[in-house]
């Protein structure tokens, strides 16, 4: 088992004729993801290495039964593309695009809610259920099928964490990069719930960073609702206040959103917090008595 994506995932790639879209389409196909369609307005009828291209997501869904979309559309058009997928009946949209204006994401949020569409991202590396499906830009070779779920606000830091797990013989059920923007789709609480209910996930790694209070909310939620062991890591302990640390959402404002507050919240909720990524596999092994 896994969450959100699996062998039944039928993927449509929005922006497949672009450089990134085309490149990662091949990577996803190579991993075994069922890439059934691409969308680029005005290019219907084209074929990108065996993947048919459609003008609209609705056409793609109608012709192929696509149920998941990944968005590689440039920032100025990406929110519109996400909304289009939602209106076409897609239930899970993964928005890879970095740099979408926040107000654009806010504007389409009610549309997603109305249609019951879940969004991962934007500004995220996507997600993978090892051995089943990968949607996004993740380097597949470092993942291994197994029982640990991972949620992270970062991209490469996720790879670091996963690599630590895999090289220590710990596989993953699903790994999700939720995105580094201030306003994003599915967040810790929704994903913790999915992992808690996934019978093949036995432990959860949560990789947070400075900015906002989502980690504090996650800590409170874990205390009340999550019975599986959770271990955490928080990036940005040495970050200065008032500076955006690469991610639009990684910002300490007026003393709130700091790493130390988040670490304190997790520890108070009984979640072990790793001082460095290398601690993660050790904590997991202890928690699962491996």
């Amino acid at each position: 088992m896994s969450i959100l994506i699996n062998k039944d995932t039928k993927l449509v790639i929005q922006g497949i004729t672009g450089r990134d879209g085309g490149f990662h389409a091949e990577k996803m196909k190579a991993y075994g993801t069922k890439v059934v369609a691409g969308v680029t307005p005005g290019k219907e009828g084209q074929n990108i290495n065996g993947v048919p291209v459609f003008n609209t997501v609705a056409n793609a869904v109608k012709a192929t039964g696509a149920n998941t979309s990944v968005v590689f559309v440039p920032p100025g058009y990406a929110a519109d593309a996400i909304a289009e997928a939602s209106e076409a009946g897609i239930k899970l949209v993964i928005a890879i695009t970095e740099g979408i204006p926040t107000i654009d994401v806010i504007r389409i949020t009610p549309i997603l809610e109305r249609n019951g569409t879940k969004m991962i991202g934007p500004n995220c590396p996507g997600l993978i259920s090892p051995g089943k499906s990968m949607v996004g830009i993740l380097p597949t070779m470092i993942f291994k099928e197994g029982n640990v779920g991972l949620i992270s606000r970062s991209g490469t830091l996720t790879y670091e964490m996963v690599n630590q797990l895999t090289t220590n013989g710990i596989g993953q059920s699903t790994c999700i990069g939720i995105g580094g923007d201030p306003v994003i789709g599915l967040h810790y609480i929704e994903l913790l719930t999915l992992f808690q209910n996934d019978k093949d996930t036995e432990a959860i790694v949560l990789c947070g960073e400075i900015g906002g209070d989502a980690e504090e909310q996650a800590a409170a939620f874990i205390k009340e609702h999550v019975t599986k062991p959770v271990v955490a890591f928080i990036a940005g302990q040495s970050a200065p206040p008032g500076k955006r640390m690469g991610h639009a959402g990684a910002l300490i404002t007026s003393g709130s959103g700091t790493a130390s507050e988040k670490i304190k919240a997790f520890e108070a909720a009984g979640v072990r917090v790793a001082k460095e990524p290398a601690d993660i596999p050790l904590f997991i092994k202890e928690a699962l008595k491996l």
Binding site: G76, G99, T102, P110, P139, S154, E160, G212, M245, G246
Partner: protein
């Protein structure tokens, strides 16, 4: 991106939000002339992109021209939290009957534009949020219909007694929301919104931050930017595809990805070192970026050693290695460089660098951090 109060007020004026006549001055003579123009008691306000101006002595009420000149002398050139005041505005002093806080922000939790109103105007809202959070009224705005006049009226009826004041304040708020969405703000704040002796409601202060992600829609903002030295470096680096923030340590870092870059800095701190910067070379594998990154690290004279931490995903380690070799051929590098390559094409990358005697290699992040700190101690 932050802009000054006077710039924010110019935007407000364009939306018919009542603001005071302001005279922008960069010299004491201009301050004196501004006093003559206004002809009665004035306020001299520092224009600096940091909060807490008032507490730092950057805002002065002046009854006489002499006082205004003195204030101009004191404030122009003043240091407020590390920033030098280069401009002030001079406005007529207002007789304040009552004052309020009004703010709009992009809110992560409600995924909406959040309206905040408080009767505790004129003080730092963060303070109110900490000590008396119940004194801030918060209303998430439906992005599909926007802020409705009745919402604006309701919220002001909570904090104001006089219906005429409420009507004016609500009108201002509806316009402020328009500014927020049309100008792609992350923050639009009036603190304080005041009722003056003539029962007029005016925006006595203005604070606006633009969404960096939306700058492509507003080329006109570039001319409004007022960056300090460090920020200039950051903006210039951004144009080269790098995310660079200068700090005050002695260990330069070059990392791919923001989260890993933060974690690398943390690791250096954890093992007792001090990072000189945050530097994310981003996702693509252009060797040129690595050359530019090395230039930033070498230009920082405090840097005594460098830690390069790459976990290849889209970024290919061999491209990073090529970039490094190119950098070495273009500049003289005499300080120790510790490099850790992992992920996509790590083997190829290591192979390319194996003959370089200057590089210290490491297998893991932890090892790399320990080695770079050791190299500085020597």
């Amino acid at each position: 991106m932050k802009i000054h109060e006077y710039q924010a007020k110019e935007i407000f004026a364009g939306y018919q939000i009542p603001v005071q006549h302001q005279v922008l001055c960069t010299t004491v003579d201009q301050v004196a002339a501004a006093f003559d123009e206004i002809g009665e008691a004035v306020v001299v306000k520092a224009q600096v992109l940091v909060g807490g101006r008032g507490k730092a002595g950057g805002i002065k009420f002046c009854q006489t021209k002499e006082k205004a000149i003195e204030a101009g002398k004191n404030i122009l050139g003043m240091d407020i939290k590390g920033l030098t005041v280069e401009k002030v505005i001079v406005c007529k002093a207002v007789d304040i009957k009552d004052e309020f806080y009004v703010g709009l922000i992009n809110d992560r939790n409600t995924k909406s534009v959040l309206l905040m109103v408080s009767a505790e105007g004129g003080v730092e809202i963060e303070e109110v949020a900490k000590t008396n959070p119940e004194k801030i009224l918060k209303i998430p705005i439906d992005p599909l219909v926007g802020l409705q006049p009745h919402q604006a009226r309701s919220v002001f009826f909570e904090v104001m007694q006089n219906g005429k004041h409420v009507q004016q304040a609500a009108d201002i708020l509806v316009k402020l929301y328009k500014v927020f969405v049309e100008q792609d703000c992350t923050l639009a704040e009036i603190n304080p919104l005041v009722i003056d002796a003539d029962d007029k409601v005016i925006a006595l202060d203005a604070k606006v931050n633009f969404d960096d992600n939306a700058l492509f829609r507003h080329p006109e903002y570039e001319a409004m930017a007022d960056y300090d030295e460090d920020e200039k470096l950051e903006v210039e680096a951004k144009e080269k595809g790098l995310s660079y923030i200068k700090l005050d340590g002695n260990i330069g870092c070059m990392v791919n990805g923001a989260g890993l870059a933060m974690a690398t800095m943390d690791m250096i701190k954890l093992y007792g070192g001090n990072p000189a910067n945050f530097l994310d070379i981003g996702g693509s594998s252009n060797p040129k970026k690595v050359v530019h990154a090395m230039e930033y690290l070498m230009n920082d004279k405090k840097v005594e050693a460098v830690l390069i931490n790459i976990f290849g995903g889209i970024t290919r380690c061999d491209d990073v290695a090529r970039g490094l070799l190119e950098a070495f051929s273009q500049m003289t590098v005499t300080i120790p460089i510790v490099i850790r390559l992992s992920g996509t094409n790590a083997e190829e990358g290591r192979e390319l660098l194996k003959n370089n005697k200057q590089l210290i290699t490491a297998q893991s992040m932890g090892e790399a951090a320990r080695k770079v700190i050791e190299s500085v101690k020597k």
